[in-house]
Symmetry: C2
Subunit: 161 residues, 2 copies
């Protein structure tokens, strides 16, 4: 079987949404998925894309994906590459496909002059953490991400206390 | 004294770099700052900006800033707003300036249809955490950020083991 990594095109939107749903199920977060094909089409392949996707294929069948965008480091004064999601179908795991996706992203980061390549992992996902540490990635344990959405976000936006 | 929040312009690059250095000193991370005025000019005000900045002014004197960019949620299928850095000069703290910057960012997030407003905080920064929780932000304690840079990044990019 031969593995190929390629940029996704608009024809892959259905596949990408299916993989997002499978990933959410793995993360036990299915209830959070509200993405739609039309929304993804615009967000990823519209006039001003918000993120990019690469696909992993085994003999031309998509078996995994990675979605990424650029973040920015004030200290470095330049952009970095942030991996938002990476997924390989369960039956294709253990064959280096996740690593191949990470390697391609690292190559894109280097090509584009990014100072850093970053991503987040669920603390209980031990097999992923073992891979990341073996590759030389460092956990940013001093930091906690805070998130605001819904009611709290609207309230803050209008300046209400 | 009157407080104004406004978008930064290219004329503010020197002020922004000074604030980045003051913030790094506060975070005990001065050694990590390699940003330059020319680099920031291109990254923030070039043909394709990587991030945006708003400034807080007291009677027309800049006293704080926030730098942000858009991230992307696969589950929501749309972009969010990510606050990379927020800083208010020590002698101006305790007057609601940080809150005013956060409120403006929340308003920008809502205007632009972002589903989430997110940022990171150092775990020891208790006064900031108290403010964030009071505003209704939720810590994403299940997640750890991993970062790869330098040698490890180059190695992964070239596919070496």
């Amino acid at each position: 079987m031969s593995l190929t990594i390629r940029p996704a095109t608009v024809a892959d939107v259905g596949t990408i949404l299916e993989f997002i749903r499978e990933l959410a199920a793995f993360e036990r977060l299915e209830h959070e998925v509200v993405a739609s094909e039309s929304g993804l089409r615009e967000a990823l392949f519209g006039a001003r894309p918000d993120a990019e996707v690469i696909l992993a294929e085994m003999d031309s069948t998509p078996v995994g994906f990675a979605l990424f965008f650029h973040n920015f480091s004030t200290f470095l004064g330049r952009r970095g590459l942030y991996l938002e999601d990476l997924f390989v179908q369960p039956e294709y795991r253990g064959r280096g496909i996740g690593r191949a996706l990470l390697s391609r992203l690292a190559a894109i980061a280097v090509e584009r002059g990014c100072g850093r390549f970053e991503w987040s992992v669920l603390r209980w996902n031990e097999s992923a953490i073992i891979l990341y540490e073996a590759l030389g990635a460092k956990p940013q344990d001093d930091w906690t991400v805070y998130r605001m959405s819904g009611e709290a976000l609207s309230r803050l936006a209008t300046g209400e206390r």
